[in-house]
């Protein structure tokens, strides 16, 4: 279930005054089961990039292989691809339209041609996965709170049982609690449902804790593509493109500068705390 991009270029509104080269020679490989974070400043091309993954927009040049098959091939079934690669857009709650939550979540499976019973089974399963309480199932989706709407909308994609889940800033506009809950749930899905997860964000803090690999986009090109620790080591370059490493990275670097023997590659608060404790103990033992 790997996704492979080869020299993808994409130009918006080609041949008009508003022509914009949104993706420049992007080559990537995302193997099955990986949890990947795509990060970049506004306008860096991350949203354009992910819309290529399920064939919603076609690259101006380049090739995209899903399971080794070129999706731009003549007889390639794009509908089938969209069943396999689920895409959750930014502010997905804006796509809700049905009379109640359960039916809205059924929309995806129904389009897959499943029986009504199977649709409902999958919808209930998906709603449970995102942690929406059963009492809301027959509510109008427009009566839910922001966080609940977001969950319902994500469930709408999960109900299609995709093999790859792509989420565009799933935490935008949520409060810290809602954000952590959604991210924890996504991490849980990644583990339990054996899904490839691609998470788009502009906050390092958000994704550092969860992902196996970070792809940093800048002005339409891939800037870094590595494990979080190695990406954050470039924290000065990240700053120059309007991004930042997690706060712990800065603290650890400053502690090191002040002469404390701490690991500078800590990416989460827990790791950093551990490192500091160890350093303190060592210092005490030396005295």
């Amino acid at each position: 279930m790997s996704i492979k991009l080869e020299h993808i270029n994409y130009v918006y509104s080609e041949g008009t005054a508003y022509e914009k080269h949104a993706l420049k020679d992007v080559s990537l490989e995302i193997p099955h089961g990986e949890f990947v974070g795509i990060i970049g400043h506004t306008g860096s091309g991350k949203s354009t990039l992910i819309q290529h993954l399920n064939g919603l927009i076609k690259a101006t040049s380049g090739a995209l292989y899903y399971n080794g098959e070129n999706i731009y091939g003549e007889n390639y079934n794009l509908r089938e691809l969209r069943n396999q690669v689920g895409l959750v857009f930014q502010y997905p709650e804006h796509q809700l339209f049905e009379v109640n939550v359960l039916q809205d979540v059924c929309f995806g499976p129904k389009n897959q041609g499943l029986s009504p019973e199977e649709c409902e089974k999958r919808a209930r399963e998906a709603l449970q996965l995102v942690g929406l309480k059963e009492k809301y199932y027959d509510h109008s989706p427009f009566d839910l709170s922001g966080g609940q709407k977001r969950r319902a909308a994500i469930a709408g994609v999960l109900a299609m049982r995709p093999k790859v889940l792509v989420l565009d800033e799933p935490t935008a506009g949520l409060d810290p609690k809602g954000r952590d809950e959604i991210l924890d749930q996504i991490a849980y899905l990644h583990e339990k449902a054996d899904m490839t997860v691609i998470l788009v964000s502009h906050s390092m803090e958000d994704i550092a804790k969860y992902v196996d690999r970070i792809i940093v986009m800048n002005k339409g090109s891939v800037m870094f593509n590595d494990v979080p620790k190695k990406v954050f080591a470039h924290y000065k370059e990240l700053e120059s493109v309007g991004l930042a490493a997690p706060q712990v990275t800065y603290i650890m670097h400053e502690l090191k500068e002040k002469g404390m023997d701490v690991p500078t590659d800590a990416t989460t608060i827990e790791e950093a705390a551990d490192g500091i404790m160890k350093a303190l103990k060592k210092e005490r033992a030396a005295k």
Partner: protein, 274 residues
């Protein structure tokens, strides 16, 4: 997908024409359009060509963008030319094959009519290409200001127009996004009969309406919060004031119109009888 549709075809560039006061552009375009219909001799057309192409050159808008505006009227143009060409009697008969008969008069009327229509569209395209929809409504508001005395709510009308114009790209983008989101969920909008196709629009229309109402509500709230209370006593942040270049533009246009009128009507230089 939907991004390719452009309404309000502004072409951003830094040129003298772009910088003109919108009122100048509206009035001058009108004068130019009227001038096109006063000619009787070919010299008038020569003057109009010089004036139009001079303006295009000054505007720095690539020629192909101006020609693009002609696409929607191609059919109309063909019909007009056809009718004039085949159905105008008078003068010497040039071609006579079966029931098709082309006369000298017919040919000249057809050619002149085509040029008039093409110049008409090119002239007005030049105006919309060099003026943002918002400054156009601003200019209109100022031009129509005297109507206030007749109790025509000029300010309110122009405010509604600019809000409507502002919302077109926003709603287009929103439609594009919702469409993509539903396609990603397997929605099929192409196949099926008419009823199925209409049904397939529901997942797009419902969220679109919800979002349009939400945006309208937000906008009303934001205007209220800034104490908007209609046009009475309202001042502008960037009031339209004529600069010297605007006066020059008026002068050039008036000179052109007078010259075109005199030359096109009274100088007896006729290539064809017209």
């Amino acid at each position: 997908m939907i991004r390719d549709i452009t309404i309000g075809q502004y072409y951003p560039a830094d040129s003298r024409i772009h910088k003109l006061d919108p009122r100048v552009k509206i009035v001058c375009t009108l004068l130019y359009l009227i001038s096109l219909f006063t000619f009787k001799s070919i010299l008038g057309y020569v003057l109009a060509t010089v004036f139009l192409f001079g303006c295009i050159k000054l505007s720095k808008v690539p020629f192909k963008f101006i020609v693009r505006g002609l696409k929607p009227i191609v059919i109309l143009l063909l019909i007009t030319v056809g009718f004039n060409l085949f159905l105008t009697p008078g003068g010497e008969t040039l071609v006579h094959v079966g029931f098709i008969k082309i006369t000298e008069y017919g040919l000249s009327t057809a050619v002149y009519m085509a040029i008039r229509l093409i110049y008409l569209i090119m002239g007005s395209s030049l105006m919309t290409l060099t003026t943002t929809p918002n400054s156009l409504t601003d200019g209109l508001e100022k031009l129509l200001h005297p109507l206030n005395k007749l109790h025509v709510p000029v300010h309110e009308i122009s405010m509604m127009m600019s809000i409507a114009l502002r919302f077109i790209p926003i709603l287009l983008e929103e439609t594009d996004k919702i469409m993509k989101a539903q396609i990603a969920r397997g929605a099929d909008m192409e196949s099926g009969n008419l009823i199925q196709k209409a049904k397939a629009m529901i997942p797009i229309l419902v969220p679109l309406f919800v979002s349009a109402f939400r945006r309208a509500n937000d906008l009303a709230m934001a205007m209220e919060a800034r104490c908007y209370r209609g046009g009475d006593g309202r001042t502008k942040m960037k009031p339209l004031i004529y600069k010297s270049t605007d006066h020059v533009a008026y002068l050039i246009t008036i000179l052109y119109v007078v010259a075109a009128f005199v030359v096109g009507r009274y100088v007896p230089f006729k290539l064809w009888i017209f």
